[in-house]
């Protein structure tokens, strides 16, 4: 069976994926302007500083939008439909793409509180996902 597309960690993202593997959810915070950002970058997208710290995120957020997907976008998703594609707004502010899991897809609503959960897809890669809080 085909595998879903998996991230190939690189300079900007190695720390994020390493933490996820340990079931820790980290995001970046800028030492110069104090803003959080997601996704991980080599500079702050608010002020272009390189002084970025990794901080443990609360893992809490709300559903900003979602879509129940009935068609597999890639052979790796065959047999995994329907799934909930979602953008979650983290308590710290930034938004990220994820899946809402551990619930009936039809029960997902915008504004719904969610918390992070970890999907160990392979020995190397763990994907942070979200479930109803």
């Amino acid at each position: 069976m085909a595998q879903i597309p998996l991230p190939r960690p690189y300079q900007d993202t190695e720390a994020y994926w390493s933490a996820a593997k340990e079931h820790r959810f980290v995001i970046q915070k800028c030492r110069d302007c104090g803003e959080h950002q997601f996704y991980p970058r080599g500079v702050c997208s608010h002020c272009l500083s390189s002084a970025l710290d990794w901080v443990e995120a609360s893992g809490s957020g709300t559903v900003y939008s979602f879509s129940v997907n009935y068609r597999a976008p890639h052979p790796g998703f065959a047999g995994k439909t329907p799934f909930v594609l979602a953008i979650v707004e983290l308590a710290e502010g930034p938004r990220m793409m994820t899946n809402i899991v551990d619930c009936d897809p039809e029960s997902v609503r915008i504004g719904m509180p969610v918390v992070v959960t970890f999907d160990d897809v392979t020995e190397e890669i763990t994907l942070p996902k979200f479930r109803p809080a």
């Binding site: 991230p7 939008s65 879509s67 997907n69 597999a72 976008p73 052979p75 998703f77 953008i87 915008i110």
Partner: protein, 389 residues
């Protein structure tokens, strides 16, 4: 030089499509070149007149697109542009070409596009599938099953949540667009549909149904521009570039600043300011309809109605033939053709409407037309306003 100085300085003098629909025996390069040949012939020009080439190919074998296509057609330009911002690229190229022509950087600009999007599926290029491992920022989306339709669905869901927009209102767009397609012999889908047909079509990514989504076809298109001065000596009545704008706000849907507003808010404002016309002056609008929600967000972002009122705006078949807002008069990406990037076809139809060449689907007395392309996942927009000369 002020952007408003471009007003009526540059003209579109040739437009053409290639074979459309399912064209398995021709490459995307050939479709692009044959559309270019036809557009140049229409203008009374040859490839040897072309000294500016504008194109992008985002699929296999298309790297270094402007070099590739110029070489393919035996053109050696002194102005080149492979700006790659998705389907809006070809609308943005009108702005780039106008600037290059007005400043003398080139004299005859060729914008071209070819794609074999339907024949590639399971065909020569093999099945469409992403890489096994994802490098770069999209690794924060692809593992979650993101797709183009899934991305636009996120925007539709949010718009419904904030403004009470309904699936029926989105379906109005698909139904009206099909009516226009029924009057275009080149349109792929010409049989009438109803709002119920849209709502009962298969759900692809909630809240978007199959009939909320554009077609997938093979197609090529081309647009030729030159100075208004030179245009007056060519075969076709010139169509003037009145004003243009371009903008982008993000690459990935999760990074879109506001899922209910596109960069057309910026590109549209710029185009209207530079054209010196108002919304009421626009006789016909060609709006990239990758999905029904794309149109609704674009109409709001361009300012044809207030934010949140797009659903009411398109209700009652307002954009259909006979309605008071003629839109996507060739049948759009929803019913006419959609080769992966549709932008160039919005320009082609706007030009034909202003020339009065559209037969049964002609908008009577069209003097001013607006074309708007959207690229990526509601990421980039190009807006142009054209006028009869």
């Amino acid at each position: 030089m002020d952007p408003r100085d471009l007003h009526r300085k540059v003209a579109i003098v040739g437009v053409a499509e290639s074979d459309l629909g399912r064209v398995p025996n021709k490459s995307k390069f050939q479709l692009s070149a044959e559309a270019s040949r036809a557009a140049l012939e229409e203008a009374g020009l040859t490839k040897d007149d072309v000294d500016g080439v504008f194109t992008t190919i985002i699929t296999e074998g298309g790297q270094f697109s402007s070099m590739l296509m110029a070489e393919y057609m035996g053109i050696r330009p002194r102005y080149t542009d492979s700006t790659s911002i998705g389907g809006s690229s070809f609308v943005a190229y009108v702005e780039h070409a106008a600037m290059a022509i007005a400043t003398g950087l080139c004299d005859v600009a060729l914008i071209c596009h070819g794609s074999t999007n339907i024949s590639d599926r399971g065909g020569r290029a093999g099945p469409v599938s992403g890489a096994a491992s994802v490098f770069g920022p999209t690794q924060f989306e692809e593992p979650y099953g993101v797709s183009t339709v899934g991305s636009y669905a996120l925007a539709a869901q949010r718009h419904m949540h904030e403004y009470g927009t309904t699936s029926e209102q989105l379906a109005e767009i698909a139904v009206a667009t099909r009516k226009w397609a029924s009057m275009n012999p080149k349109a792929m889908m010409r049989d009438p549909i109803t709002i119920d047909d849209v709502l009962s079509s298969r759900m692809i990514a909630s809240p978007l149904h199959l009939l909320d989504c554009c077609l997938v076809t093979d197609a090529g298109g081309a647009v030729v521009l030159t100075s208004m001065e030179r245009a007056r000596d060519l075969k076709k009545r010139p169509v003037a570039v009145l004003g243009t704008g371009e903008a982008h706000t993000h690459r990935m849907i999760s990074q879109m600043p506001d899922l209910t507003e596109t960069a057309a808010k910026i590109s549209g404002r710029l185009a209207f300011e530079r054209a010196g016309v108002s919304h009421a002056d626009v006789d016909v609008a060609e709006i990239y309809d990758s999905f029904t929600i794309t149109v609704l967000l674009t109409l709001e972002s361009l300012g044809f109605c207030k934010k949140g009122e797009g659903g009411a705006f398109v209700s009652g078949q307002r954009t259909a033939p006979g309605g008071d807002f003629p839109m996507n008069t060739q049948g759009g990406a929803l019913s006419y053709t959609h080769p992966g990037m549709f932008g160039i076809f919005t320009v082609i139809e706007a030009v034909r409407q202003l020339r009065g060449e559209c037969g049964p689907r002609q908008v009577p007395g069209a003097e001013v037309a607006l074309a708007n392309g959207t690229g990526g996942v509601l990421s980039s927009t190009g807006t142009i306003i054209l006028g009869r000369e």
